[in-house]
């Protein structure tokens, strides 16, 4: 059993790999440090208060070991930074090809999903807004889902653990993020920024479907909403 929830996004694996890389550095540093800490406790332990060696550590000869350790730490840090940099850029920037554009609006206490309507453009009169607790956001698999994230009242945070994506929703701002789910299924959306009494009930789903199922869903959604095309 993996320690992470199942990864279903295109960039999730990179984050998991990053974890194992950092863990390798950290485990090495941990065991070395533990040795440095525990070994002298055994080797130099003394029953009685007794005279010890006089080492002030001001000499280069003595301090060089610490310098080496610090340079090692700095180097491994920069290796991490170098490795992660591309993934960071990938997640935080908008992909050139957006297959589906939607808007996700947080409020106390629900996630509101706005589908762009038949024209595929948000902010037009044919947008369809779904504001129901425990509702599902339907998305097609293997498609770049680009979403605008907003908040109506306080700060919320959009967390889709299975894609490894998290982003705060701030009132007054629109943040654009994206994900691409590779496996059909129903995944939890949760709010990770404390936002009031029903913070723990702010749970919706992403329902990843095959393109055909998604087409079917949107068609029926848009048809059902044709008369009431009011948007906000």
């Amino acid at each position: 059993m993996s320690i992470f929830p199942e990864n279903v996004s295109t960039y999730g694996q990179a984050i998991d790999n990053l974890f194992w890389l950092i863990l390798a550095f950290v485990a090495f540093a941990f065991f070395v440090s533990l040795f440095i800490l525990i070994y002298p406790l055994i080797k130099y332990s003394s029953k009685k208060v007794n005279r010890a060696e006089y080492i002030t550590g001001e000499k280069k000869k003595h301090f060089k070991w610490i310098t080496i350790a610090l340079v090692g730490l700095l180097l491994s840090d920069f290796v991490i930074l170098y490795v992660e940099h591309d993934t960071w850029g990938e997640i935080e920037s908008v992909p050139s090809k957006a297959d589906v554009r939607i808007a996700i609006i947080a409020r106390q206490w629900n996630w509101i999903f706005v589908y762009p309507g038949p024209d595929g453009v948000l902010g037009t009169t044919d947008d369809v807004t779904i504001d129901e607790m425990n509702s599902s956001l339907h998305v097609p698999i293997n498609a770049n889902i680009v979403f605008e994230l907003r908040s109506q009242d306080v700060i919320h945070s959009f967390f889709l653990a299975n894609t490894r994506l998290k982003q705060d929703a701030l009132p007054g701002r629109t943040v654009i993020r994206w994900f691409n789910i590779t496996k059909p299924g129903k995944y939890d959306i949760s709010c990770t920024q404390i936002c009031g009494i029903l913070h723990s009930k702010m749970r919706n789903f992403v329902l990843a479907e095959t393109p055909e199922q998604y087409k079917h869903f949107t068609d029926s959604l848009y048809n059902a909403n044709k008369p009431a095309t009011a948007s906000n």
Partner: protein
């Protein structure tokens, strides 16, 4: 008549005293009391997490609103009403004058005022539980607009808004800042101005350096937040829109102001404890502190870097992605001085003659646990992994692995070390060891498994995980229960300490002047030190860590012993 006189002297001696030692003890006792309150809150919400929907012994049912308030106030208390008073104020007030060889702080009246304001702030904080609506429940970070009442109602009822949990919390924190600023002024002026003759900068013990660096960091990072707190208070009581985006304000402003203070604040908490280690480790390894000067330089460097890292708390808050890389580098850089300081402490052990007395046990436990806390920081300092780990239990476990050793292990190490000095009595070392081992084991039981909960995607500050399929499954629910049982064990093992403390105070196991054979000046004074501390005042001839000097018969040479080569 006799009785009246006695009563008066009790008040002036213990409550309204201006003596730095009494004030230090007042801060310590208040901090310990608040730790009890914070621990109780933790017990209640941890019990709720492990056994959701069950009635909690010694509390009852816990609703979502109280749950939010409890986690919020728990964080607030542990940082501002336990960490700050115990580490900065109690150590600072008790130790600074006596370790630099003087009679009292520079401004004793200001000092007394600071402790009274601190008391008032604690009262207001606790009172906020009992106002209509209860205590504030939006996280200790108090992000607006949730904390800025004005976003719901542009014309709040002034008095109702003033006596809401939110406003009272802001007021309490503001007063606490004022108390700490007064203390900080005192620390700096005392250390600059009132050092014993011969106590040149490079002869000052590390803890005094660190307390002052901490005070400086605090003073220069808290200012903008004080301004921000005024704005938040006005948003609440007057209905202004400083943080309301619909009226031109910006909630992100608070995040920046808060973390510009909030991150340096963890170094304000860390530095005094690191200072405690610097005093304890050499004493019990009978060796000079490794690289004393370098440690001071590293701490100064970290003070400078501490104001360059704040936005690593906001990697997923919607800041500019390029900015995140800058703050990631800052975070990497600041790990270097602290790693250097810890490595120097470990290097001090090598070649020593180590006796595992109780204070040393706590010191080593601190280093060991902080190792985990510090290294897991590497995961979170990486902005990419932070996208996933942010606001999960991974973060919770990480900062408890740093702050718990820092605040509690640091405090207990100091307490067992200096108790003979401030009371003149000797604690029972056997009970001290029991206290240490139980605390150590239960602490790990409490937080280690939570790392895995965090990696499984468990996010923070949720009172009921039943609707989240990723978390409400095994083994994560069992991990929660193990954590809660350990938390109860952790709290119960503190009663060993309380028993040891009280029974020792009532016993007459007198301690000698310098039980640990240490070199610093406080051990020259009587135990407990009289008013005025020294008679005559000492003259300093050497650094604070002259252990096992060659060509000297004793294995320690106090700071007031003249150097034979010079005289």
């Amino acid at each position: 008549m006799e009785n009246l006189h006695h009563k008066k002297s009790f008040w002036s001696k213990y409550i309204f005293s201006t003596d730095h030692k009494t004030i230090g003890i007042q801060y310590m006792v208040m901090g310990m009391f608040m730790a009890g309150v914070g621990g109780y809150l933790a017990y209640v919400f941890r019990y709720n997490l492990a056994f959701p929907g069950k009635s909690i012994p010694f509390y009852g049912m816990l609703g979502a609103e109280q749950y939010n308030a409890f986690v919020t106030i728990h964080g607030m208390i542990m940082v501002f009403w336990v960490g700050m008073p115990v580490l900065l104020s109690a150590f600072g007030n008790f130790l600074i004058p006596i370790m630099i060889g003087t009679d009292d702080m520079a401004f004793p009246t200001l000092n007394a005022l600071s402790v009274q304001i601190f008391f008032l702030s604690a009262v207001i904080l606790i009172a906020s539980f009992f106002v209509p609506g209860g205590a504030f429940g939006g996280g200790w970070t108090m992000y607006p607009p949730f904390s800025a009442g004005g976003y719901l109602n542009h014309n709040p009822d002034f008095f109702k808004a003033l006596f809401s949990g939110t406003s009272l919390l802001i007021l309490a924190v503001a007063l606490e800042f004022v108390a700490m600023l007064m203390g900080g002024i005192n620390f700096l002026v005392t250390t600059v101005n009132k050092r014993a003759k011969g106590m040149t900068p490079w002869k000052i013990p590390v803890i005094i350096w660190f307390l002052n660096i901490g005070a400086v960091i605090f003073m220069f990072s808290v200012g903008p937040l004080v301004a921000g707190a005024f704005m938040l208070l006005f948003d609440n009581v007057l209905g202004t829109g400083f943080y309301d985006p619909h009226r031109g304000g910006d909630p992100m402003l608070w995040e920046h102001l808060f973390w510009f203070f909030g991150h340096p604040e963890v170094y304000v908490l860390l530095l005094p404890s690191l200072g405690v280690l610097a005093e304890i480790v050499p004493v019990f390894s009978r060796k000079p502190l490794f690289a004393y000067k370098t440690i001071i330089y590293l701490a100064l460097l970290s003070a400078f870097l501490s104001v360059l890292v704040w936005a690593h708390h906001q990697f997923v808050a919607g800041i500019d992605p390029r900015m995140a890389t800058f703050f990631s580098i800052g975070t990497i850089l600041i790990s270097i001085p602290f790693a250097g300081i810890f490595l120097s402490y470990m290097a001090t052990l090598w070649g020593g003659k180590i006796t595992m007395k109780v204070p040393m046990l706590w010191a080593i436990g601190f280093i060991g646990l902080f190792l985990i806390g510090g290294l897991t920081g590497l995961f979170l300092g990486s902005n990419t992994f932070d996208i996933y780990a942010h606001d999960t239990y991974f973060v919770v476990a990480h900062f408890h692995y740093t702050l718990f050793p820092d605040i509690f292990f640091g405090f207990f190490a100091a307490f067992y070390f200096w108790f003979p000095k401030f009371s003149g009595k000797e604690l029972n070392p056997k009970l001290g060891k029991w206290h240490f081992w139980l605390t150590f084991i239960f602490f790990n039981g409490l937080f280690f498994l939570l790392f895995f909960n965090g990696l499984a995607g468990q996010h923070r500050r949720i009172n009921d995980y039943s609707s989240f399929s990723l978390i409400s499954r095994e083994p994560y629910q069992t991990f929660e229960q193990i954590a809660t049982i350990s938390a109860i064990g952790l709290i119960l093992s503190q009663f060993i300490f309380l028993y040891n403390f009280i029974s020792t105070l009532r016993s007459n196991r007198k301690s000698v002047k310098n039980p640990w054979e240490s070199t610093t000046l406080e051990w020259l004074s009587d135990s407990p030190p009289p008013h005025g501390n020294f008679n005559p005042y000492p003259v300093v001839y050497r650094g604070a860590y002259d252990y096992s000097l060659p060509d000297v018969p004793e294995d320690f040479t106090p700071q007031n012993v003249p150097n034979p080569n010079n005289n």
